[in-house]
Symmetry: C2
Subunit: 187 residues, 2 copies
């Protein structure tokens, strides 16, 4: 999926094939482990994932926490830093080789002042990120690590073949040994 | 602050005094403890708080969790249900007497199809809610209840005179007794 496909699917089904996007984008091909945004960096770009997985992580006294995995068909960036223009407290890393569409924050901000379509895209993408974050928060508040693991397997059944188990444990907020126990218990 | 003031402050400084809003709003005056949205209800409305505080809470096996307090100058609703049109798993309650501007989801959705301004408002308000939720998630992952309490006091120094201590404990995710210990420790 490309940004153009995203627009047709979710924002404006009548978006013409030959109409220009409301902001310039360029394609990037990046290798696994490439860091898109470092902690401390102020986010000036955003990405749309065509292929691959991007991980958002943060450091807590040397202890890595994984906040989210982003998959093809999703926008991603260090969004808090992107919005506030303060240094990022999260790191964006390509968890696999990635093909991304990249666009500059300043171009998006410019488009936001006049373009209905740019605002529809930005609003819809932000709504989706809000839904992801809220779902995760509610899961942390209300269900066990085992249930969170089962939900993840249901939503992303292929995740275990792509993402190392220690990263899934960091995402679920459990020790790798606890995740092994959960997995044994389920199988 | 009204929606009109919000637009001028955050979205379009040149918005004319006499221009119509992109969707109809009506004022509501509600008493303390009024439930705006019940658990199980599908959210069809959203609100802008002119005066008062709105609480968003959820139930976990009879155990109440407070997800967020909303203050004057903020939009609020059961936003996950509003976006997905599935039954809400949160409850919206007026924690104090409130003056709200209310608007219907269907009017907003209609405005989203053609109005640049409606999309700019929706995008900006969603960005702000995203920032709130993400900040809260990061705080839960990285700092102690005592530090979360100190942050809350710094950001909302008047909160203790308005919101009962047991509700603040539910918001911080600690037992009321732990919050008492934290408060004694600090003073």
């Amino acid at each position: 999926m490309t940004i153009r496909d995203y627009i047709v699917s979710f924002v404006d089904p009548s978006f013409p094939d030959d109409a220009p996007l409301p902001f310039p984008v360029s394609e990037m091909r990046l290798k696994k482990n490439h860091v898109l945004t470092s902690i401390g960096q102020t986010e000036a770009r955003a990405y749309f994932i065509q292929q691959g997985i991007v991980e958002i992580s943060m450091n807590n006294d040397g202890n890595e926490k994984i906040l989210e995995f982003f998959f093809p068909g999703q926008f991603t960036c260090a969004y808090t830093s992107f919005l506030t223009q303060r240094p990022s407290d999260v790191r964006l890393t390509c968890l696999t080789d990635c093909v991304l569409e990249m666009f500059e924050r300043r171009h998006l901000m410019e488009a936001y002042t006049t373009s209905l379509l740019a605002n529809q895209i930005g609003r819809y993408a932000t709504e989706q990120i809000f839904l992801m974050r809220t779902k995760r928060e509610k899961e942390f508040l209300t269900i066990s690590a085992e249930e969170r693991y089962l939900n993840l397997m249901k939503e992303r059944p292929d995740i275990l073949s792509i993402i190392p188990v220690n990263k899934i444990a960091k995402y679920l907020g459990v020790h790798p040994e606890s995740l092994s126990r959960i997995r044994k218990h389920i199988s």
